[in-house]
């Protein structure tokens, strides 16, 4: 009896999630129809975004989202793996505990705080080094990288910690050094977990709003260098919804949201099915 209730509850919860996803998708789709009919594919290939002329091309925002996420991953992955190796294998127990908790605390900092910190402390540094405004793609990439790093490092460390001692000892027993054991045993063993953490971090980065809205510049230009200010999809949405004064403008913003949703789905689906399957099969 209890079993049956429990079974039904879990089943309902699972269905509820499916339902909400479908619902969101339908709402976004319905509201984007006007923009899609007006612009067709130009919506995602043109970067002219001129509300006063009723012209909406989302290319700059899409590019900004992809580029800032890519930059963030590029910067964060090596550092996160380094931190995870340090925390799981190299540090002594006391340091492990202290640093481990610090990393978890960092992961819990709300993203808006990373954004403010980036604007007031990081942007001036970039300005001093590279000149220009400091605000732009590079600043966004770095702030995003810093934001996802603690999470990535913590999950990667947890994955590495699942490597059985006896497996590591077997490699040491054959004359392996600590570095041999890390690269030949621990990383391959933890690969699925590590890639899982990278995918989740990627998902967070691509949809991140608050951390980047401060430092990206919010201009609808495709950047020519990584120092140029630009925008991203979530940043555009957060900044412009209150200003949408025409139904085409409004519909275009929904079109952007739909694009982001589809992008996130595609990225996560590719990552999940391609990488994880490859890993689980052991190449």
């Amino acid at each position: 009896m209890i079993d049956k209730i429990f079974l039904n509850m879990t089943r309902t919860s699972a269905l509820l999630i499916l339902f909400i996803v479908a619902w969101i998708f339908v709402v976004l789709f319905n509201h984007s129809i006007e923009a899609m009919q007006t612009f067709g594919f130009d919506f995602i290939t043109k970067d002219e975004w001129a509300p006063n002329l009723e012209k909406f091309g989302a290319y700059a925002a899409i590019f900004g989202s992809v580029a800032s996420t890519f930059l963030a991953m590029l910067l964060a992955i090596p550092v996160a793996i380094g931190v995870a190796i340090f925390l799981s294998e190299i540090a002594h127990d006391k340091i492990k505990g202290f640093f481990g908790v610090s990393v978890e605390l960092l992961a819990a900092i709300p993203s808006v705080i990373y954004g403010m910190w980036g604007l007031f402390f990081f942007v001036p540094i970039l300005r001093d080094i590279f000149g220009g405004m400091g605000i732009g793609l590079l600043a966004a990439g770095i702030v995003l990288a810093i934001m996802i790093l603690p999470f990535m490092a913590a999950v990667t460390r947890d994955a590495m910690n699942t490597t059985p001692d006896i497996l590591k000892e077997s490699a040491y027993a054959l004359g392996g050094t600590q570095w041999d054991v890390i690269k030949d045993i621990i990383i391959p063993y933890a690969k699925a977990g590590i890639i899982g953490s990278l995918i989740l971090a990627l998902g967070r980065a691509i949809g991140e709003t608050m951390a980047v809205t401060f430092v990206m510049g919010n201009v609808h230009h495709t950047p020519k260098t990584i120092l140029d200010p630009t925008t991203s999809i979530p940043v555009t949405l957060a900044n412009e919804f209150t200003e949408a004064d025409s139904s085409l403008y409004f519909s275009s913003l929904f079109g952007l949201a739909l694009t982001l949703l589809v992008m996130s789905f595609v990225v996560i689906a590719i990552a999940k099915f391609y990488f994880l399957r490859k890993v689980r099969k052991g190449q």
């Binding site: 059985p164 497996l167 054959l174």
Partner: protein, 261 residues
């Protein structure tokens, strides 16, 4: 008090007054153990759970050094030097003294790469040499026939018994002088156990073997010498037959007749 036979044949290891204390422990887990290990023979270590068999075994390849804070005292002589010396080159030592664990530990890589791993660690890159030695090791571990058509497959696809023989192949591929076995069959079925025991007996032609077992029949089947340990002491070391038939110590007698354990 302890009754340790004097081994006339050549010995490959000499344990002398060896004590071992785990980090944070107030009393040592091994107390002044003195024990010769005969060359090219099988020495079994038996005794009730917690008596220090694993602790002693893991001292021979300094496995305890992976966890800081443990303390070695006394001497273990190997190839003319005391391997407990803090300056001992542990990488080199572990290529000379290999180890097989309680559970099979296939690495997350192919069967071939598993066996080649130790050789690659030593910098051997020549493909023909690697292939030759991998095949030889797999043959010596009596698993070549079963895996020769799937060397590129993931080693974790093998059965438990096959994986344990793979681990033995991996260990002998680097041509060690000594092999340490810590209850190598405790996770295996009877047929696989038989295979491993047969292998242990064959391997002693080339290596000196120390095997920890909780199974007295196994000790009797495979070993030439048996050491009985109790609460961190080596109570008796003797020829296996003598120790089981005419034990010199009362404790040994009580243990092998099942009065405790």
């Amino acid at each position: 008090m302890a009754s340790i036979i004097d081994i006339k044949d050549e010995c490959s290891l000499h344990v002398r007054n060896f004590s071992f204390t785990y980090k944070g422990a107030t009393t040592p887990s091994l107390k002044k153990v003195t024990m010769p290990i005969a060359k090219h023979s099988v020495t079994a270590l038996i005794g009730p759970s917690g008596c220090g068999k694993t602790t002693l075994l893991r001292s021979f390849n300094r496995m305890h050094d992976l966890y800081p804070g443990n303390k070695y005292e006394g001497e273990i002589e190997f190839e003319g030097r005391n391997i407990l010396d803090p300056k001992e080159d542990l990488i080199h030592l572990r290529t000379k003294i290999g180890m097989i664990f309680q559970k099979p530990t296939a690495f997350p890589m192919s069967i071939f790469d598993n066996v080649a791993y130790g050789m690659r660690l030593q910098g051997i890159k020549n493909k023909t040499e690697l292939e030759g030695r991998v095949e030889k090791a797999l043959q010596d571990a009596a698993i070549w026939k079963e895996v020769k058509d799937r060397l590129k497959h993931d080693a974790n696809g093998l059965s438990g018994g096959q994986q344990q023989r793979l681990c033995i192949a991996r260990a002998i591929a680097v041509e060690p002088e000594v092999l340490l076995f810590d209850e190598p069959t405790s996770a295996l079925d009877p047929i696989s156990t038989q295979g491993i025991e047969k292998l242990v007996i064959e391997l002693k032609e080339r290596v000196s073997i120390i095997i920890v077992t909780h199974n007295m029949q196994q000790a009797a089947r495979v070993s030439d010498y048996t050491g009985f340990m109790y609460l961190g002491d080596l109570i008796e070391l003797g020829h296996t037959e003598e120790l089981f038939v005419t034990p010199k110590e009362k404790l040994t007698q009580e243990y092998i007749t099942g009065k405790f354990g």
